[in-house]
């Protein structure tokens, strides 16, 4: 049973384009929604996170959009750069435990 569903599985974007990754969750008890970024050979690292009382959070080129009624949230990467090429995981938290999505491998072409 996958409580957090992430799409697409892979994504190819041209440099300067917008990368969009979507996630949907089922459990309305989730109270924290982080995105993690993982480079090859490294562990995931927190990129940006949002709580369900706000609809959008922006940090530099990275924005989370959150739709509580639809139980969906998404990551937008503006002006995507080759250095953004990595695997991205959305997650949802309940009582300090994280439930991760399946991951999206992003490739930004120069």
């Amino acid at each position: 049973q996958q409580q957090v569903k992430q799409s697409p599985q892979s994504l190819i974007v041209q440099k300067g384009g917008i990368s969009i990754i979507n996630c949907a969750y089922e459990n309305t008890a989730f109270d924290y929604f982080p995105w993690y970024q993982q480079f090859p050979g490294k562990g995931p690292a927190l990129l940006i996170a949002i709580r369900p009382d706000v609809s959008e959070k922006k940090e530099g080129r990275f924005t989370i959009s959150f739709n509580k009624s639809a139980k969906q949230f998404s990551l937008h990467i503006m002006d995507s750069q080759p250095g953004d090429s990595a695997t991205y995981f959305c997650a949802a938290s309940k009582s300090g435990k994280l439930i991760f999505g399946q991951g999206t491998t992003l490739q930004v072409k120069p």
Partner: protein, 114 residues
Amino acid sequence: DVKVTQSSRYLVKRTGEKVFLECVQDMDHENMFWYRQDPGLGLRLIYFSYDVKMKEKGDIPEGYSVSREKKERFSLILESASTNQTSMYLCASSQTSGGAGTQYFGPGTRLTVL
């Protein structure tokens, strides 16, 4: 900077062997976690610990056990390794006071069971 270290980057074991994966964090975090990462499945929680000598099952605990004798160290044990336990294993730690806290991950151990 928070540092989470894992004892091995790569490990090759044989079916039936007992396997120990060690994780150490240097930030005095209360919470520690073990995940396995498989393509298309994301990260799945095996076990976690909120305090020394305390452990709780995650989503896929079958075939695994853990030990936390000291606050900074969390060990994952495969009692009798099987080929379906071939995977990337990630350890994480976090500090939280009731709500969600950032989890800091180690670099992972890629375990192959032959």
